[in-house]
């Protein structure tokens, strides 16, 4: 196995693992997490490096593992020129951002959290660009939405950060859903979810009648992510993020994910009128609107945000042209925009950091305070404006050339270069504003801090980026040309067309457009005062956020309205809906069947004991309902029902169920009593006669329906699947207890899911109840004060004596569970009951002092044990959770069988113990804190 057979998934997954490491080490030192992030990024680069040469030789590297073949999902990765370019951008700019953020974050900010989020985001982005399987790509795409949400809301104490993050998540998340639908359709058309097949099936896709839905759905995903009109408005609000985040998300990564997808699907979806119309109009509108609004932003980052939107529009427009040369220009501009925009955001962060404000009406004349930064900013901004000898100039020239080509298509198409020129003029104007307003234009106004140059290492990332801008702009053939060549080849899935990267093409139309844009921009900037006044009076009032909030608000109201029809916050009401629905569905299903109600199977003989016991159960069920207003008595009746049900399980040869039922019964009683303490002791009388009649009718119908159904099933001869399990339990799972073998082996993955849910429920209960206080009654239902004897001596002594006995039974039931009734689940419940009794009889304080281990750890260890068992099987080349077993000979004990499933069962055991004890004891502590509050109240009353 060489490195080239598995290195790409390592590159993608490394940052996720690294995120945990970065969060972990921040406990010991703030800077350690920055170092961890740096090392992880370098490692990812090192793993990518051996494969980086392949695209240059025209090869596409694909690494694939089967995952869920039934739905076309493989775990597969692809490295071609386009993927390589994006992976390099993500990693390289990520590395610079990490270095920059280490100096940007203040001591108050938690470094570990920041770098953990950043690494997770980096991993998600790498996953998007390196995925071969489309469903897997969508999964990573959703992960970028989620992790960017965490990054944008990093300063979670700020409302604007939270709102901005929520908006970004709502828009990009909705787009992600559309993308998923589009990808599913595309996979349906092609017959495969693998990019290799999809890219080869371009003609078939374009000819398919599903082409338009596929195109529109995928484009919604692209436009939401890349902030294209009309979804552009989330991006400026995302500027509430820390500046390193903006520099990363809005230069090379998040918003470029949409652009990446345009490039990825370019050979499949482009070349039709629909593509041209939708993509290029969205791009053109975004380009113009973004450039226009950017000029009027007083916030430094706001200007950069809208300029980002505008440049994204430019790239989208280029892809919309659909020609190969336009794709070349688009890819080229992706590289250039990433470099100059990242550096500009970093400069904005430096200025914010050093002056304490980002308002361009206050920060003026900074050149004399920070000349080094100023020079860097001026070069980067000039690149953004498209000044010759800088990288932005080259790609803009190509862009102008493409607009002129496109204008020859039809009579109206001359509008394209005209509008583009206007956008270019505004682009020059806002770049000028960025330079002139900030670094010249008089003296600073009322700054919170006296500005000075930032720490040296904060500037180094900017230095490097600006050097790239210059190098690409002056000697493109020796710097960017090879990377651009392979990226274009990867995009087109063909050899690139002829294009020239020369700086001087002679005097032609694009050059004239550039000169016009530069001159026009300067003019617009000089007239800015009048323009600002006009803008503030007219356009400034339009805000897409208002529309967004209105849509979101009405959606909310609609959802609440629909929910309120069914759920009025009353359990009875909800139960009525559920039961009536079940009744109706059952009745409808029944109507069409002509078969007799009962089958031909002979009924079993009835003996007197069973009859008496079942009569007790029926009477107890009835009494539970009749006495429901006296809650404690009702609970006692329920205890009888539970007991008899377990006896019934024993009678019908289901000992596992009986044991489970008995243990659950005990835990339930404890749980209900804990809750009952805080609830009224009696239920108020229901006076509405109609409602009582209705409820009785519904319950009788439902009960009779279930009884009839059960009889119908029981009186028929069925060939259930149990035969298979009975036959295969010993050869396949190495155990004679079929129930346990099913739980830990045949259906092991189900069980794993269930214990995860159980663990989450336990932790959720803990999180919700922690520190909560409820008023607790100080008298019983008859008005007597509680006894002052908290823990009677007899109860304490006896339960302590029983504790080791109960644990022994738990161990016994656990160990033999694979062959005879028992297993991790039942044993876990027994052990939990053993522990809970100690809490009951001796008090929480006494027990906690002796029971030193934390239940969180027990749950965690349990999940770890269960998952590790599965992973070991995978590591040995078997499917997840494959179990194996062998026979051991022990002295005294004799020959017995050991299954690897016992480790899995141990996990189940630990999770059950942890979750049960954690949640019940937390409920117990609830009253503890209430007691303290009560005592305090009494004490103050006495005073």
């Amino acid at each position: 196995m060489t490195l080239l057979s598995f290195n790409i998934p390592v590159v993608v997954l490394l940052p996720f693992v690294g995120a945990i490491a970065a969060a972990w080490v921040s406990r010991y030192s703030r800077l350690a997490s920055a170092w961890a992030a740096t090392i992880i990024t370098l490692l990812a680069m090192a793993f990518l490096a051996p494969a980086a040469g392949l695209p240059f030789q025209g090869e596409t590297l694909i690494q694939s593992w089967s995952w869920i073949p039934g739905i076309g999902l493989t775990f597969s990765f692809r490295l071609d020129g386009l993927a390589l370019l994006f992976a390099l951008l993500i990693l390289a700019i990520g590395l610079l951002v990490i270095g920059y953020a280490r100096y940007y974050l203040s001591p108050k900010d938690c470094m570990g959290r920041f770098f953990a989020y950043l690494l997770m985001f980096m991993g998600s982005m790498l996953g998007v660009v390196l995925s071969e399987n489309l469903i897997q790509l969508v999964v990573f795409w959703e992960l970028t939405s989620l992790t960017s949400f965490l990054l944008i809301s990093y300063w979670r104490h700020r409302q604007d950060a939270r709102l901005g993050a929520r908006m970004a998540l709502a828009i990009t998340g909705a787009g992600g859903l559309a993308l998923l639908a589009g990808v599913m359709l595309l996979g349906h058309v092609v017959g495969s979810y693998n990019l290799t097949d999809v890219l080869a099936a371009g003609d078939r896709v374009r000819a398919s009648e599903l082409y338009l839905p596929v195109l529109v759905l995928i484009l919604i995903g692209v436009f939401t992510k890349s902030a294209q009109f009309p979804f552009h408005f989330w991006l400026p609000h995302a500027m509430a993020a820390p500046t390193p985040v903006s520099a990363y998300l809005h230069s090379a990564t998040m918003v470029k994910a949409g652009i990446f997808l345009l490039a990825r699907f370019f050979p499949v979806l482009s070349g039709t009128p629909e593509w041209s119309w939708i993509v290029s109009s969205a791009g053109l509108i975004t380009l113009v609107i973004g450039a226009y609004i950017a000029l009027f932003q007083h916030d430094l980052k706001g200007l950069l945000a809208y300029s980002t939107i505008s440049h994204l529009g430019l790239i989208t427009l280029l892809f919309g042209f659909g020609t190969q040369l336009a794709a070349v220009a688009a890819i080229f501009h992706i590289i250039n925009h990433a470099t100059f925009k990242a550096s500009l955001f970093m400069v904005a962060g430096i200025i914010d950091h050093e002056t304490g404000t980002r308002d361009m009406r206050r920060i003026n004349g900074l050149f004399s305070y920070m000349p080094h930064t100023a020079v860097l900013a001026m070069i980067a901004a000039a690149a953004m404006a498209g000044v010759p000898l800088l990288n932005g100039f080259l790609s803009k020239e190509m862009f102008f050339q493409q607009t002129i080509t496109a204008s020859q298509v039809s009579g109206w198409a001359w509008a394209i270069p005209a509008l583009v020129l206007i956008a270019a003029i505004f682009s020059v104007a806002y770049s000028l504003r960025f330079i002139h307003d900030v670094f010249f234009n008089g003296k600073p106004v009322d700054l919170p801090k006296t500005p000075h140059e930032p720490p040296r290492f904060m500037k180094i990332p900017v230095d490097l980026l600006v050097i790239i801008c210059l190098a690409v702009g002056i000697i493109p053939m020796f710097t960017v040309a090879p990377v651009l060549h392979v990226a274009v080849a990867g995009t087109l899935q063909a050899s690139p067309p002829e294009y020239s990267l020369a700086i001087w093409h002679g005097i032609n139309l694009p050059l004239i457009m550039s000169i016009l844009a530069l001159a026009g921009g300067a003019l617009v900037y000089t007239a800015r005062k009048r323009l600002f006044a006009w803008h503030d009076a007219s356009v400034a009032r339009w805000d897409a956020r208002i529309v967004f909030n209105a849509i979101l608000g009405s959606l909310d109201r609609f959802a609440v309205g629909v929910t309120r029809v069914f759920d009025k916050g009353s359990l009875q009401n909800a139960a009525v809906w559920v039961i009536v629905t079940a009744l109706t569905a059952g009745f409808i299903g029944w109507m069409g069947i002509s078969a007799p109600l009962l089958g031909a199977r002979e009924l079993l003989p009835v003996d007197g004991v069973s009859l008496a016991v079942l009569a007790v159960m029926m009477a107890a069920s009835l009494m539970t309902a009749v006495l429901h207003r006296r809650r404690l008595v009702s609970l006692l009746m329920l205890g009888v029902v539970g007991l008899v049900v377990s006896l019934v399980f024993v009678k019908f040869s289901a000992p596992d169920l009986a044991l489970t039922q008995l243990s659950v019964e005990v835990v339930t009683v404890v749980l209900l009593l804990l809750a009952l303490y805080f609830l009224p002791q009696s239920t108020p009388r229901e006076r509405d006669k109609v409602r009582i009649g209705r409820d009785i009718a519904i319950s009788v119908l439902a009960g009779a329906g279930v009884a009839v159904l059960t009889m119908g099933v029981l009186t028929r001869e069925l060939t259930p699947i149990s035969d298979y399990f009975l036959l295969n339990a010993v050869p396949g799972g190495g155990g004679t207890n079929v129930v346990n073998v099913i739980l830990v082996d045949f259906r092991g993955t189900d069980t794993l899911g269930e214990i995860v849910v159980l663990a989450l429920a336990g932790l959720g209960i803990y999180a919700m109840l922690r520190g909560m206080k409820l008023p607790a009654p100080d008298r019983d239902s008859q008005g007597r004060l509680w006894s002052s004897d908290n823990h009677p001596e007899i109860m304490r002594t006896h339960t302590r004596l029983l504790f080791p006995l109960m644990l022994m039974i738990a161990v016994y039931i656990f160990l033999r569970g694979h062959n005879l009734p028992g297993g991790g689940f039942i044993a876990g419940l027994i052990a939990a009951v053993a522990l809970i009794v100690q809490y009951l009889a001796n008090g929480i304080a006494w027990t906690s002092k002796r029971l030193r281990f934390d239940m969180h750890w027990v749950i965690g260890l349990g999940l770890l044990a269960a998952t590790a068992t599965g992973l070991v099987a995978m590591g040995l080349g078997y499917p997840f959770l494959t179990s194996t077993f062998t026979y051991l000979d022990w002295p005294v004990v004799g020959k017995f069988e050991v299954a690897s499933a016992i480790a899995f069962d141990l996990g189940v055991f630990l999770v059950v113990v942890g979750a049960t004890v954690l949640s019940l004891v937390e409920l117990g502590k609830l009253s503890d804190s209430s007691h303290k509050a009560e005592q305090q109240k009494r004490r103050t009353e006495v005073r």
Partner: protein, 89 residues
């Protein structure tokens, strides 16, 4: 011999079970009912042991054992509830 003894024992235990349940329904006080439920648990143990003897299977004893160890926990919880209201403090 064993069959006859089992028959008598089954009848008596079933009778005891019914009587315990009647006490549970009648009360009159909560402690009466709690004791009735506890007795029901003990009756169930007896019934299971008898069934084990009758069918000649030791699997019945497992359930009996479990009731014996854990059946009292419910009683403890109910009693603690009467005593303090708060069963875990």
């Amino acid at each position: 011999m064993l069959a006859t003894a089992l028959l008598i024992a089954f009848s008596l235990v079933t009778l005891a079970l019914l009587l315990s349940f009647i006490r549970l329904v009648k009360g009159p006080d909560i402690p009466d009912r709690i004791l009735a439920l506890d007795t029901l648990y003990i009756n169930a143990i007896a019934l299971l042991i008898l069934a084990g003897l009758h069918f000649g299977s030791s699997l019945y004893f497992e359930a009996a054992l479990l009731i014996a160890v854990m059946g009292f926990v419910g009683t403890v919880a109910f009693s603690k509830y009467l005593l303090r209201g708060d069963i875990m403090e």
